[in-house]
Amino acid sequence: MVKKLPKVDVVVVGVGWGGGIIASELTKKGLKVVGLERGAERHTEDYYMVHDELRYALRYELFQDLSKETVTFRNNEKIRALPMRQYGSFLMGDGLGGAGVHWNGQTFRFLPYDFEIRSQTVDRYGKNKIPKEMTIQDWGITYDELEPYMDKFEKMAGISGEENPLGGKRSDKYPTGPMKHSPQMDMFEKAAKKLNYHPYTAPSANLSEAYKNPDGIERAACQYCAFCERFGCEYGAKADPVVTVIPVAQKTGNFELRTHSNVRRILHKGGKATGVRYIDTTTDEEIEQPADIVVLTAYVFNNTRLLLLSGIGTPYDSSTGTGVIGKNYAYQVSQGGATGFFKNKKFNNFAGAGALGMEFDDFNGDNFDHSDLKFIHGAGIRLYQSGERPIQNNNIPRGTPTWGKEFKQNSIKYANRTLKIAAQGACMPHQHHFLDLDPTYKDNYGDPLLRMTFDFENQERELAKFMAQKCTEVMKEMGADHIDTMQELGPYNITTYQSTHNTGGVIMGDDSGTSAVNNYSQMWDMDNLFVVGASSFPHNSGFNPTGTLGGLAYRAAEGILKYHKSGGQLA
């Protein structure tokens, strides 16, 4: 028996960054919102014992419990997809605040080029520059149109930064000044400038100074504690939905948060969503929550999976390239970097903050000429200092033993004598990279897992190789005694952590034939269903996704308010 609850204005599925932003914006305007979050509640006070590398970084304390739900993966359609049984390549959020609790806080905006990638690539290089199977498309929105919303996100989160000299035009500066510079950041800056690049202090959601945001939320400055990525912030200094948007929603009295509520289906009738069905994971009771508007903010994977499970939208068919749900899954290429070993210099590698770093974008987007290159787009080249914790960071020169006496000596010697320059590379969609339902494996409620079909293509291999050379040049300029450079990007491998920057599956655009949502994140096929998150990115850029995602969430909130008033398609 399914228990049916009274109808509300809006039900939000998943309360991380996307869900938190939507809830705060709508409740401020008087809408009644129910937020369903499958995980537990979280508080800053939970992090008293958070400086524990084993528990949080290696045992994945804050992440989704894979015994209950995971994804399956195969490199291509010819092999059998198998479950990701243990963590590796990416880490899914779970619990109040989602991955916004344990992210680094590197908060970038995509480039104007990203939003018009197909037309600009064709304009500059001609149609043939785009390989037949590379399914890039324009986003149905321009950078300038999205700018005010990204600005809003940055002001809510208090992003600390300085202008990217090669970025899109800003309507305002960052709300707080850049983070402090460590000696290695200064070295990187100097080297990059010497090579005529345009470095800048990376924008950070770890506050450089105390900050009060437009919602009246006050937060303390970052303490550079070095337990940031994969950890919760015990100071409330890292922008996290739990210390920003969620309390704002709660204060209005219009937000009802239900944790331990795992949504299994979006209910719909006659082309309209009518609510959701979820399970109370503490009792196993099935509950129906009717609503006028349904908003999916359950991250890339469950946004896509819930649509497929609920029979909404046309599933993508990779053999013909038609259909939209599951289309254009993309990722990122973070391997193209260089590691420098210094014989006589020591650094405070143990200290840092999740978003403490320098970057330059001279080789990102279309900021450089690709005429003679076998790839499009590029990567942000960066040096970060987020804190090298000792279990996960044992830096040794390539080719030296990985255990035994020599290993011990090298890893101890180089612990504070190693610097890394990384390239965070864009990833282009491909006709045969997609998400669908797995035919075999199920979650603990018996629903099919999501299946990922993905690999690196020539585009990514060429890009990574090119970037590794650029990183090496900078490292040389910085004076490293020995440099290890990435040689070949192998096949995509789900066992090694790369980034939790998964994108696509419910992509946006200006045409219902080739995209699933419009530029308000509203489903083309269902007016009162909004799907918000990096699931709407038609490709992935050479930047971390959340600054852009946050902008899209604020725009979606505006769209939902419009829809609530007058109904219909917004775009």
Binding site: E53, L54, R59, L82, G216, E218, G236, P390, W403
Partner: protein
């Protein structure tokens, strides 16, 4: 502030410990508004006088018995093999203690006895198929089972090759056995030799460098060797400075 570099270790450590008042001053947190941080909410994670006394008593700890050092999972015989193997992976040298003295054997024992050993948070639903390397571990066996079989197979291999138990081999012979497991040179039908070796190796690093609360990294000696300060409250005061040596602290210091 250049003279910061010359301050001795003790002074610097004191500097790291911020009082509540000092922290709030540094962060510039003012009263009013909708306050959300744990510190502002009246909770200060660590620092204060109580804990200062505790570090002064640290020296006395040496002589005390370590009640954590007993076995939850391994048999005595297995434990001997484990201690011999981990010591080869991370040996005692002029930098300091090896895995055995760091308590890595106990660390692994305790981990296998708990949720990690049971793969409690891994997806363990059938069917089990052999997959590509890129798809990761696909076996049905749990870590504690793999470990137990792995140790047994190491003994078998040592016996068949050298007619001795692993722990009784010379260091070179032990290294050879480990290398053969690492390189899948051992023919096994039960488990993947290299899979077992990788698990062993990574748990050695975990045991050497995790917080001492887990049974390894005895007296934070693993951290001291590589000049890792463990669990400090923050590094605002040194982040923009050259390398600083800071005396390590553990989670115990914040109780």
């Amino acid at each position: 502030m250049a003279d910061e570099n010359n301050k001795n270790e003790k002074e610097l450590t004191e500097e790291q410990r911020m009082s509540r008042r000092r922290f709030i001053k540094n962060s510039g947190l003012a009263a009013g508004g909708l306050v959300v941080g744990g510190v502002a909410g009246g909770l200060i994670p660590w620092g204060g006088t109580k804990h200062d006394n505790k570090t002064q008593n640290a020296a006395q700890k040496e002589t005390r018995k370590d009640y954590n050092h007993a076995l939850m999972f391994f048999t005595q015989a297995e434990f001997k093999t484990v201690e011999a193997a981990v010591e080869r992976i991370f040996p005692t040298d002029e930098n300091g203690p090896g895995a055995k003295d760091l308590g890595v054997g106990y660390y692994i024992d305790h981990q296998l006895a708990g949720s990690w050993g049971f793969n409690a948070r891994d997806y363990m639903q059938p069917p089990f198929y052999h997959g590509e390397k890129s798809q990761g571990y696909q076996g049905r066996m749990r870590r504690r089972e793999i470990f137990r079989i792995g140790l047994k197979e190491m003994q078998n291999y040592s016996q068949s090759k050298y007619k001795k138990n692993f722990e009784d081999l010379t260091e070179d012979q032990q290294d050879k056995v480990l290398k053969d497991f690492e390189g899948d040179k051992v023919n096994l039908t039960t488990i993947s030799p290299s899979g077992f070796f990788d698990m062993l190796r990574s748990s050695v690093l975990e045991g050497a460098y995790s917080d001492p609360l887990y049974g390894g990294n005895k007296d934070m000696a693993g951290w001291s060797m590589r000049e890792y300060p463990g669990d400090q409250m923050g590094y605002t005061n040194i982040i923009d400075k050259d390398f600083q040596k800071i005396k390590p602290q553990s989670l115990q210091d914040h109780m």
